[in-house]
């Protein structure tokens, strides 16, 4: 029997996965949690074989929760289940110790396959993320944003103009614009609109 715990801040999604998984004769859902702290408690108590976790969760995110789980129960396999497909999120989850990475647009059949795969000691990655590319990107560029750049993104997300951002951070407007252009390049985005969307979706939180 594969004993599974699910962590996810959207209860309806938990209910859906649970319902689906429980139809499988070899899988048992031993508990669910809506945030990272609750997940840790649950994992300590029930010691599941596989944990399915979201990245973005209240209190403790999936990255930190995965690190803790792998530290206390190294044999528990963690499967990331998230909407984040960008390299930095994948990389951080891999570094935290996940054995699989699945995007939330996957069918539930995939989730079952992934649970079985990681339980059996295999790795399981969503076909839509490129793990190979991760490793290459590592050596070429650090691909990370500086503290200042993250600050600028935070303000971009609030719809502020470069001038407003410049005033708020006590830097020049040309400095802000240059950071914006550089971030578009570094993150592989196309244009200001995409940078703003990136900022609003707060994807930068998952950059190292």
């Amino acid at each position: 029997m594969i004993r599974v715990a699910i962590a996810e801040d959207h209860q309806s999604l938990i209910d859906g996965i649970k319902l689906f998984l429980e139809q499988e004769h070899d899988i048992e859902v031993v508990g669910t949690a809506n945030d990272g702290e609750a997940l840790l408690k649950l994992v300590k108590l029930k010691q599941p074989n596989v944990v399915i976790t979201d990245i973005r969760m209240p209190k403790l995110d999936g990255i930190e929760a995965t690190k803790c789980i792998k530290a206390i129960l190294p044999h528990t396999q963690v499967l990331a289940f998230t909407m984040y497909d960008q390299k930095a999120a994948v990389k951080q989850m891999l570094e935290a110790g996940v054995s699989g990475y699945l995007l939330k647009n996957s069918p539930l059949d995939e989730v079952v396959k992934a649970v079985r795969a990681v339980y059996n000691g295999h790795r399981y990655y969503d076909a839509n993320i490129n793990i190979e590319a991760e490793d290459n990107s590592n050596t070429k560029s650090k691909g990370v944003l500086t503290k200042r750049q993250v600050e600028i993104l935070r303000l971009v997300a609030q719809g502020k103009t470069s001038r407003e951002i410049a005033n708020e951070l006590f830097i020049g407007i040309h400095t802000v614009d240059t950071h914006r252009k550089n971030m578009i390049k570094i993150l592989g985005l196309h244009g200001k609109g995409e940078l703003m969307r990136f900022a609003i979706e707060a994807k930068y939180k998952f950059l190292p």
Partner: protein
């Protein structure tokens, strides 16, 4: 430098400059895996070297970041520090201004442009775009 290329040279420079006067210099680079023309690499290195020296000598900064971002047709060099800053309009009267003017001339020689953004008490950013 001629052997390893621009980025390792700049990284070495930042390492050597770190620790002097409590300064920490970091390098953030993107897309510099290909070598540039040798003369251009040397010119860019000298400019960065001089700007970092300026920070050590004048800025009283504790933190500086050298950004090198390759935009395919141009290289963006941005050096930020959290030092005392200055009024860029007052520059030409000082000797430091002479240094920056000479950098400006060299950047122009490579058909690039240089922007200085600084304010008393709020650090300095030097931004250079050079076609590559």
């Amino acid at each position: 430098m001629a052997k390893d290329g621009l980025l390792p040279a700049v990284e070495r420079l930042s390492k050597n400059a770190s620790g002097i006067n409590n300064l920490k210099v970091e390098v953030q680079s993107f897309g510099l895996d290909q070598r540039l023309e040798n003369a251009l690499e040397i010119a860019i290195f000298r400019i960065i070297q001089e700007l970092v020296t300026n920070i050590i000598k004048h800025a009283k900064a504790t933190h500086a970041i050298v950004h090198l971002t390759n935009h395919d047709n141009k290289l963006n060099i941005m050096i930020e520090d959290n030092g005392v800053g200055f009024d860029p309009k007052q520059l030409p009267k000082t000797t430091k201004g002479m240094g920056l003017m000479s950098i400006d001339r060299r950047v122009e020689h490579w058909e690039g442009n240089l922007t200085i953004e600084s304010e008393l008490g709020n650090g300095t950013t030097i931004i250079i775009d050079i076609p590559v």
